[in-house]
Symmetry: D2
Subunit: 344 residues, 4 copies
């Protein structure tokens, strides 16, 4: 099946190319990039030299319509909604990696990002976290691939919310590698500023990923869940390491907490519940589509401590998008995603 990547200039688009190059069923037939159109892919991206014989083109939904059946859109939010609407109108299936179709409530979208460019598609879109919405993804033609921070927070937390085991107010301390910010030229992202450094950002206000976490947490809990969120920048290229603090409704042991995760995710291909006592590490998921999770109960406070690790560009973006596309196209869910982590 022929597919397109729309918006390959950023890190997420490049990661899509890397994964799709080895996909057994999807064939990359078109790659668009406004900034570099006209350039052969191998010239624009030195890592792909000699790997892919395509020329970067402008994003023209009509021109793509006849050539591909599915498009991955890796565009900035707001822009993405408009392009997705055109691609859907042209009959393509779409996996959107922006935030534009993740929030079901257009008012929440407006408060977070501004006016929505294609609100008519919101009811059609499925939140693209396959472990939560697998059946709906199989049936849809528009998936909104879940964000990196939300994936890291929701996968360990949702089983406890669904089972009503914790209070509906949690605090999340999350740490992301710098590729999560994209290929932006900002001083904070310079090597000389970020190496040997670590700092929180967007504290006290509301981080853009909070409404997304809150929406899915509420669906799991059957009612509102207050989400405290403190994101940090890590001196790593990739990876998100998340700590969630929750208060159990009644006594819980570390073993019982681990069992909750095991029951929820034990049969999942891409969520690994770690053996008792082990903690998730970015190194074990680098370049791979896994989210490793663990649960502990803190002795002195009795708090439930949930930990997760994932690669923000894979299970947090491009890998997740391909996992959604596999479901939408009735392919084995793990197609193209079986790569082991790059260790060391």
């Amino acid at each position: 099946m022929k597919v397109a990547v729309v918006g390959a200039s950023g890190y997420t688009g490049l990661e899509l190319l890397r994964i799709l190059l080895r996909h057994p069923a999807f064939e990359l037939a078109a790659v668009t990039s406004e900034q570099r159109r006209g350039l052969p892919v191998g010239e624009a991206f030195p890592s792909l030299r000699g790997q892919l014989d395509l020329v970067l083109e402008a994003a023209d939904p009509a021109a793509l319509a006849g050539r591909v059946e599915l498009a991955f859109t890796a565009l900035p939010h707001v822009t993405s909604a408009r392009v997705v609407a055109q691609l859907r109108a042209a009959g393509l299936r779409v996996v959107d990696l922006s935030a534009d179709f993740r929030l079901r409530d257009p008012r929440v979208y407006r408060e977070t990002y501004g006016e929505h460019g294609a609100p008519q598609l919101l009811s059609e879109a499925v939140y693209g976290l396959p472990e939560l919405h697998r059946e709906a993804l199989r049936a849809t033609r528009l998936a909104a691939s879940a964000g990196c921070y939300p994936t890291g927070a929701l996968l360990p937390l949702v089983p406890f919310l669904r089972a009503g085991l914790v209070e509906p107010s949690v605090c999340i301390d999350a740490r992301s590698g710098v590729s999560g910010a994209g290929r932006k030229l900002e001083a904070d992202y310079l090597f000389a500023e970020l190496d040997e450094n670590c700092f929180a950002y967007q504290v006290g206000g509301v981080h853009r990923h909070v409404p997304e976490i809150a929406q899915e947490a509420a669906r799991a809990a059957g009612g509102p869940v207050a989400i405290g969120f403190v994101p940090h920048l890590l001196p790593t290229i990739r990876g998100i390491a998340t700590t969630v603090f929750a208060r159990p409704r009644k006594g819980l042991t570390s073993d019982a907490a681990r069992e909750v995760l095991e029951e929820a995710w034990g049969r999942e291909r891409f969520v690994r519940v770690l053996p008792a006592g082990e903690t998730p590490r970015l190194s074990a998921v680098r370049g791979a589509n896994f989210c490793d999770v663990a649960a502990f109960v803190d002795g002195p406070t009795g708090s439930l401590v949930l930990l997760s690790a994932l690669d923000n560009l894979v299970k947090g973006a491009a890998g997740q998008a391909v996992q959604c596309a596999n479901l939408m196209c009735d392919l084995p869910e793990e197609s193209g995603l079986c790569e082991a982590a790059l260790v060391p």
Copy 2:
């Protein structure tokens, strides 16, 4: 005044040498190292080549007695208690950088580290966090320089506990550079394992620093405080970045929270309350004796979020020890500690 560093093989000992080399009042007269005794300092430590004309010697308290007035002990816990007792018996003032004299209750010490080697000295020892116990430090001859994690947690938290503004149960998510683990040859500390990595450790059990934080938190609160603590290893050489989550007893704004810090620490030389909206960064304290702090109130949950950054080897160890020694010797508290951070 002549001083000795007892135990210079580790990173903390080396950092003491770096700071004492530029100290205007203390003169380094003896440096001990069991592992490398007999070696000139400049040969053992390439960074000190041509800087210090001393030979590493064995730690012989009697031999030190006539030559120095004060000793900094940077030895492993348990070992340290024994050596400190000998140094005190020989009449020296001591600043101990191990954990041996930080816990006032010998039962808590025993549960955490084992049998105490010099319990008779516990009543004499003062907890070496000058911002909390300045007057007692001026009067003592034995300071137990505060630990790195506790310093990062206590400096932002204590003002809220003292004022009774938060519930006596807090969750701390802390991240440390690898030098906090010392110069140990363990696989987790190899560059190939730690670079591009981040992970929690000692979760679910009780980290050794918890009793120390709990002791000082209780003194501030006037009653027990439950401490949940999740330490992480960061891919940095130095630095501790701490997030403390606490629940305000009544409504609090970010501005009011910042004001609490400002009132408590506004006149301190080494605690910098950041301007509203800014977050502490490891880069701003690298190599320097500062602890930067900030306070925010999280909108969705109403939680108080406290952040701090310090250099674990300076304000978290050697710098703090020198600050204690300055007080004990009636020197200006900032002597030898005015160095700016190494930026970039």
Copy 3:
């Protein structure tokens, strides 16, 4: 075809597992590790959890004989020769990743590593750099996969030696990421020592890779070539960046030099001659089986400057070994090796 990895405890063995997991024709049927035998692979290597359903076993050549047709040996030199002899005696094809079968002259081996454990196999072994010895590799049952430093030096240099364009005395300045040293617990390889650091090692003596480079350079030049070699440790996990300085026999321009590389390697799948003006980067080969090369002529001195970049664990070890095995087994040379680099 069923294959074994003999010696999976080190980084090279782990990388072999990563590559073989996705190989379309080789099936991993046995993995040995003395240190961790009895452990399931996924427990021993967290990155492979849920990826490979094998238990680590002891290396018993007889037991492997009936189960696999080809073995990759990733053992320390000297040990390897002995095990390889047993595997060959049992009828298996072998790709050896140690240095034991790279040097054709047993006297040179003895001076470099000591007594050879299986000198009778030296005549059978083929130096495993497919771009230099493709036809011989197709015909052999024992390949000595080329070393990482030699691959980085030889690929840009050999075309000039073959054409007699440079003097037979070259100086090589090479820089390797720390995984090239293996998973050794040495102080130099600790994160706190290596991050923000860079230094030369084994200078003035003769680095173990020099005889290997000299042997292949001599074969290319048709006579002895003096090899000056200065290896450095880089603060990276992976990658070797090499600079070769050579003196042209007669005037040469950068364009002409680039053309020499283009003619030699233009049709190779895994050697990429960069466009004029571009320089090789470790980032473009991270995790991939490419060696990127470039050639320049320095204005002031007229020296030929050759540059290359490769991933020491892929084109410098495990990828190269698989490339050799593909040739030995009459498979497409690129089988299992088409992965793009992990960027960013």
Copy 4:
């Protein structure tokens, strides 16, 4: 003595502030920054918060004249020449950290940087490498602080050129941390691009530092010296590690080569000739004003291999400038420069 830093926005200017803050004789009385004028220093530079009570001002040479006796200029080349001329006209002593007064021949300057803004001052300016031109620096009122790459290349090389021990054609392979490029927002300097990476740049053309190295090499050799130069970017914040390959005129041993360095620099405070067999490391000079040097003779080729390590912002820029200023002001040469390296 009151001094000014003119141009504090860049990394070099910030490093000057860090060093001057602890200088026993120079008092920082003015700091200029076009970009951030009006801001208190501690607000513009978080690492200096609470350390320096000055407001950034515009660079007005006339206004500085009455307030300071000496100015350090850390401005871009071409701009710097103009400002330096005004400061000199106002009677100030000047240490210029740009390249504007390093090249004695205005034609070479023109080819490298364009038209010179103050050629009349060239005869007055002294090349600011104290180990080469100490007496001239004592006598001048305008020092052109030597560049980072030239310092790393010249300190090990000059003794051999002066003694006529090597051929007048050398190849230099040098590696710099990213702070050498300044605080520029370029994609190559982003953490996500540079971490785990290493690459050569400006190869084949002529790097701007080559004429500077060639000029001083020629002065040492008493005739022209061809300089081949291949600079690399390292994934470190600070540091330059240099390898110089030279051909001895007659046989030389590693011991004899080391002796040449020892004789030349054995009495220098800031050049450390390492013990036989040791190689310079960036870690041993991080944040300190040392240049560590070593010399080896390569067995196979007989080449002389010279190695050095320095901190590009200290001995390669701000520290060197202060060392020059100390000489110009008849202060002890090491004033303010005795800091040990930040290790680990």
